[in-house]
């Protein structure tokens, strides 16, 4: 049995062979990172006083629909992040310059450079939301720091040809039973990406005899409330397929939509989307995934299949009790209440979803989370809630992982 590089920590070997924990980084096709496919940029601006803040706000009025504040002009000395389409860059930079607004461009370049040089995740702020670039850097650092147990795999590409990454936690060996966790299938559910990163860290620290896979999916967006991927097709100007309606089980049924402009558009056919196909291929080739956890927000729910039907699955009783235990463990951290049950009876009927496919593919312990909150902030959950949410979610996930570990099949 290996000991950890930290020295002396002996991992308990489970009676069952060790697990592989797979963490998939879903890089959903999409609009924005610091630099993206279409050349949009996020500018970081420092406003020194109220007057400058006001000038920034005026900018949106001058360029309606063209600028998108990711971090709005709130108060002086706080950087403002503003997404600008490529076509407007010149104009806007001129405006900023003429009004004496400082672009933290050079500073940003320097920071980015230093980040690339940074070999440590210890300066990463877990209590803020991060850009795609920052998450990529974190992933690389994380893999480097835990190279004994974590590796990074690319399992495919998004519609816009971005890599889909999986973080694989493994103590060696092959074809071991695995637990799959994904987050961020829907871009706007930012709390799930942040939670995913936290969970990766916890898994690396909690060396228990399982190997785990954690997936955290950096988000790329059309706008802050974008849900789907970025695939386009002839005949319609509407973009995107709901990746959580594109799976094979119950495809096209109630709770999904065949209108390409709909937020729950299921796509032309099951697994038509490269993101979904990549995950299906990976999981099927692995052949030994025993639990699958898909993390979404919001509603504060923990659910199991089915979504496409009201009929209970054959393992309903066991899944019900496991969900109940997991929710209790979650509650004990910060007193947050989750409800639990099957997807169709707890949330709504939804067809072609990840966990239905997983269950029908033989992955008995398939669960879907809807994290905080219950509507007060919804997708725009304040960053102050990231760590509490991640902490409680981790306890629920751990409960599921332990049960899976102790109930081999």
């Amino acid at each position: 049995m290996q000991s950890s590089p930290g020295g002396g920590v002996v991992r308990k070997r489970s009676p069952v062979s060790r697990w592989t924990l797979l963490v998939c980084s879903f890089i959903l096709a999409a609009a924005l990172g610091q630099m993206n496919f279409t050349g949009d940029q996020v500018l970081r601006i420092l406003a020194k006083n109220e007057k400058q803040l006001s000038l920034l706000r005026d900018l949106e009025g001058l360029k309606p629909q063209k600028v998108d504040f990711w971090r709005g002009p709130a108060r002086p000395s706080l950087p403002v992040d503003m997404r600008v389409p490529f076509s407007e860059l010149k104009d806007i930079k001129a405006y900023l310059e003429s009004h004496g607004l400082v672009l933290l461009d050079e500073e940003r370049e320097a920071m980015a450079k230093s980040r690339r040089l940074e070999r440590s995740t210890s300066s990463f702020s877990y209590s803020s939301y991060h850009t795609l670039e920052e998450i990529y850097t974190w992933i690389d650092n994380f893999v480097t720091e835990h190279s004994d147990i974590v590796s990074k795999l690319q399992i495919g590409h998004s519609f816009e040809n971005r890599s889909i990454l999986v973080l694989k936690f493994s103590t060696g060996g092959s074809r071991r039973p695995a637990i799959w966790i994904d987050s961020g299938i829907h871009s706007r559910e930012w709390i799930t990406h942040a939670t995913g990163i936290w969970i990766a860290r916890k898994v690396s620290m909690d060396r228990r005899g399982w190997d785990g896979v954690e997936v955290t999916c950096p988000a790329l967006f059309q706008n802050r409330l974008w849900r789907k991927n970025k695939s386009s097709r002839p005949g319609t100007f509407c973009i995107g397929v709901d990746l959580n309606r594109n799976w094979k089980s119950g495809f096209g049924g109630n709770g999904s939509n065949n209108n390409p402009c709909s937020e729950t558009y299921h796509g032309p056919s099951p697994q038509s989307e490269p993101e979904v196909a990549a995950v299906v291929d990976f999981i099927m080739s692995h052949g030994n995934v025993k639990a699958l956890i898909s993390i979404h927000s919001y509603s504060q729910m923990l659910m199991y299949p089915y979504g496409h039907s009201l009929e209970p699955v054959s393992n309903q009783e066991e899944l019900y009790h496991l969900a109940k235990d997991a929710v209790q463990a979650l509650y004990e951290v910060h007193g947050i209440e989750y409800i639990y049950g099957s997807i169709s009876t707890t949330l709504y009927v939804a067809s072609g979803i990840t966990v239905d496919w997983a269950y029908d593919s033989g992955i008995k312990y398939s669960f879907s989370f809807e994290l905080r909150d219950t509507g007060r902030y919804g997708f725009l959950l304040p960053a102050t809630q990231i760590i509490p949410t991640a902490q409680e979610t981790w306890m629920a996930i751990r409960t599921i992982m332990e049960h899976t570990l102790h109930h081999p099949y």
């Binding site: 920034l56 971090r71 402009c261």
Partner: protein
């Protein structure tokens, strides 16, 4: 772990009721025909009681009642949100109209950490096919005394009067969920206006949450009242759509809220056809209640 009230149908920590028997859509019909119930329907319209209403359905109805309550109270410092449904009964008729009798708890919308006061409401909610909005009869316990509420509204009003028209392009909250303290009164007032819209639009199948103020067109305070024209993004369940709604409200503390709105409906798939506008403009002026 402190004792908490268990909501009716949904399992929560501590609840041991098996979920398997619950069917959300096909109703278990009791043939005891309920009469008019508290909504005042004299005639027998073939109402059949749903023996096991889903917690989702009850919550939706409770939220509709609360949106209406918040709108009528017209008090941005006393907005309430649903905590949990304590008791709920549901009926449906052959026309697929729904009636609910509910008791639920609420808490303050204001983000005061640690102040978890719970109020209680009872409501009858009636979803009819021919009327666009649910008919609501709702009474709630007072979470704060009337004088204090009026005072807080007035303080809020004074703050708003001092705000210069600032808000031209700021999204509230920003992408990180942050609302600057100076902008909070605006958020509360926007929520009040949105409550009217969400009440109007809620059906047994669709309910809403306010996601973000995406723009402010106008913020005027020249006369006494606050004149607020803004666009809000509503998140629609279960379609997951984001619905932009333009809302124009006029508010003065203690007076009924005047509001009109227009929500944009989803685009059609054909290329070049542009957006289909859902014309739901309503001008409401209420006499004192």
């Amino acid at each position: 772990m402190q004792l908490r009230r268990q909501p009716l149908s949904a399992p929560r920590p501590g609840d041991t009721r098996p979920a398997a028997q619950r069917l959300a859509v096909p109703l278990l019909l009791l043939l005891a025909l309920q009469g008019a119930a508290a909504s005042g329907e004299p005639e027998d319209s073939g109402w059949l009681q749903d023996a096991e209403p889903s917690s989702r359905l009850l919550s939706q109805a409770a939220r509709a009642a609360l949106h209406f309550f918040n709108f009528r109270a017209a008090s941005p410092s006393a907005l309430q949100v649903l905590a949990s449904v304590l008791d709920g009964r549901a009926w449906v008729n052959q026309k697929k109209e729904y009636k609910f009798d509910l008791v639920f708890t609420t808490e303050f919308y204001r983000a005061e950490e640690g102040e978890k006061r719970l109020g209680t409401c009872s409501a009858q909610v009636f979803f009819r096919n021919d009327k666009p909005r649910p008919a609501v009869n709702v009474t709630c316990t007072q979470l704060i005394k009337k004088e204090r509420r009026q005072e807080e509204d007035y303080q809020l009003y004074k703050l708003m009067k001092q705000l210069k028209s600032p808000l031209n392009a700021v999204r509230i909250p920003d992408s990180h969920g942050y609302i600057a303290p100076s902008l909070r009164p605006i958020w509360n007032l926007a929520f009040l206006g949105s409550s009217y819209v969400m009440w109007q639009k809620t059906t047994p199948f669709l309910h809403y949450f306010m996601s973000q103020i995406s723009s402010v067109k106008q913020w005027k305070t020249n006369d006494d009242a606050i004149d607020f024209d803004y666009t809000v993004l509503l998140h629609e369940f279960s379609t997951q759509e984001i619905i932009p709604c333009r809302i124009h409200l006029v508010w003065y503390p203690g007076k009924p809220l005047k509001v009109k709105y227009h929500c944009q409906e989803r685009q059609t798939p054909e290329e070049g056809s542009g957006t289909e506008e859902g014309s739901a403009v309503a001008l409401t002026e209420l006499s004192n209640f």
